[in-house]
Symmetry: C2
């Protein structure tokens, strides 16, 4: 086990009707002038915004609103948020939505207190030294941004999709009401499932030895996601399955799965180029790239893939390691297909002929090298994209 | 799944030689005058105290020392700590040790800022409204106090052993170096294992439905503890097994195993009377009481015991539920015995003829009712103590 530091200070307020606590929570964190950040019009339509605005008025909390965050959030709205927030002298940001909204809110929270261009953080030329406090109301379990220190933003000039991480970006609180997710469109549910599964696998597939406890926790979360997903495919309004999925999304990415081990993140790097180029859902790209990555790298640590097959997919330890490992990879792929996720380029609307374009931006974003389970070059990336396109 | 709030803000600094960070961490938490609280002379003998004092002098951090905490920490030393801390105007407490030292430090941290008698907190007649910040250097993985909001203290007048919980008692940071545990006496290692296993089972055995994700996490931690314990019995200086056990002790009791579910705590209630009466190790009492409690209550939720047998002890779902459930209970008991833990009164030095005494204080401490998996009365408690005495 490697040395590590772990601190997840976010307060999670989980369950039915927990949105009622929002004004009080903001006051506890000394918020008096709030930027409410959200996505599409659904937050307005479903009445959630009304409830929150009413509670703010009752508690004399001032606020301004900035909606319009799209999946794969872009830099221009972050600039808008920074400008609006400075003008209005906000001291707290409330994000209502999923990972895209929360990631955009995090970039605004750090950018607003930085004298330079916020993209400097994503270029790696400036560290984040301070950020406004953020609260979230999660409406889409997927990215885990409600409990993570991460933010991913796309710079439209050059379509650069990049991530940053800083403990200063962890939300002060996250309100998580599974009732808000009962009627999520099926595609959002399954893309979320792919995202949280990949957050676990990027940590599970490691070369670090002697980390049994985090192995087991990763497997626990995967097993629970798979079980709840199967329930939701039959009964999308099953509260407990929604609740298990919602909490899984958080702990898949708050860091508890990664303590003491080297992480990988190659699948995310490969996917970011897909969603940047085609503006597809991140989860859809991941369900295509994760099995392809596995198929390419498994021989670099076959015992771990054997463990994955036995513990997560219930295979017996009979046959060659290769057979057992491939059975687990096939099972994951079959599971993705069974809930309607894409597992190849065609289903995604991606083209093999675009691989050169993907490699070009991947090379810029990774400096030509990425991955830890197996260190990958652009030749490896090309091969993995080809597996994904021919699956 | 029930509604819940969860916040575990403690920073964990885990791994080899992490004690080197202690002065810097205290400064980050604005500590300038520290009470160093510790147990037996081993902290002095093994040089740990010297290292810490040197680092304090280098960083110009003032300090006073209070050693002498015994297992099952008592009120008199807490009073001493409060008096010393006030006299010396300390603003930070560093606990070096296991759960007893940390629990004692927590009681001092809250008591020092309270004008009344600190035992009011344990009597339930005063809430904790503020507490000094605490840091810990964990030397004994067991109680999980390094990441928990709890403290258990024994009032020697009447031998009342009681627990309290408050988010204000969560340590600001905990330094956890598995190297410090490589040469722990075997008895301390196994008592710690019994303690952390019971912290998981007190949450796992619940009547709350639809909490698959926490079920799986509980099982993950149990499986990992069992695996690492077996390694340590063969090779007590195996670093990774020590590291897995150390981290298990923390997450078994920082709350992550209990989210969304009603907890039980009957085994702890039953045990507290044993360790208060005989001044035995808490873990030794737990390894006696846990299988006895299980044997008495399992029919109140047999499906959960069947799940425990299948997922933790690898039994097949063949035979009657009763057979499967009992197999799991026997496996736990056999596991305890295999690592040298007591599983009956005799091995503990307890007497069946003392059951009346145990019931008398249990009744005072629980108001005559306790447990949630099965609501228990003093008659039930008497029956469970009898099972333990006749095992």
């Amino acid at each position: 086990m490697n040395n590590f530091r772990f601190c997840s200070p976010t307060e999670f307020i989980f369950g039915k009707n927990t949105v009622d606590n929002v004004a009080q929570l903001i006051k506890q964190h000394n918020g008096t002038k709030v930027l409410i950040h959200y996505g599409c019009k659904s937050a307005e339509k479903n009445g959630l915004l009304d409830i929150i605005e009413n509670s703010f008025r009752k508690e004399f909390i001032e606020y301004v609103k900035l909606g319009g965050v799209q999946p794969n959030p872009i830099d221009s709205l972050v600039y808008n948020g920074i400008e609006l927030g400075r003008e209005e002298k906000i001291n707290f940001i409330l994000a209502i939505g999923g990972g895209s909204v929360i990631d955009s809110a995090k970039a605004i929270a750090a950018g607003i207190l930085y004298s330079g261009d916020f993209w400097d953080f994503f270029d790696g030329i400036a560290p984040i030294k301070c950020a406004l406090p953020i609260g979230t109301i999660l409406t889409l379990p997927a990215a885990g941004s409600e409990g993570s220190p991460n933010s991913v933003i796309t710079k439209t000039d050059g379509m650069l999709k990049r991530g940053i991480g800083s403990s200063l970006l962890r939300p002060a609180f996250s309100i998580m009401d599974p009732l808000l997710t009962l009627t999520l469109p099926r595609c959002q549910t399954i893309y979320g499932i792919a995202d949280m599964i990949t957050h676990v696998t990027e940590r599970y597939f490691t070369q670090t030895k002697g980390v049994d406890i985090t192995d087991r926790i990763c497997e626990a979360i995967l097993l629970s996601i798979i079980q709840s997903s199967k329930i939701l495919m039959q009964n999308p309004e099953n509260y407990n399955a929604r609740a298990n999925i919602m909490w899984a999304s958080t702990i898949a990415h708050n860091g508890i799965c990664g303590v003491g081990r080297e992480e990988d993140w190659a699948t995310h790097a490969l996917e970011h180029e897909l969603s940047a180029l085609y503006n597809i859902a991140h989860g859809a790209g991941l369900s295509v790239m994760l099995p392809a990555w596995m198929q390419y790298v498994y021989t670099a640590g076959i015992d771990r893939f054997v463990q994955f097959s036995i513990r997560v997919w219930n295979f017996k330890n009979i046959g060659s390691k290769k057979e057992i490992a491939m059975s687990g990879i096939s099972s994951l792929k079959n599971f993705f297909q069974s809930i309607g996720l894409p597992t190849n380029f065609e289903q995604l609307g991606a083209k093999e002929s675009d691989i050169d374009k993907l490699i070009k931006t991947l090379e810029i974003n990774t400096n030509g090298k990425f991955g830890n389970f197996l260190h990958l070059t652009m030749n490896d990336a090309r091969a993995i994209y080809k597996i994904a396109s021919n699956s």
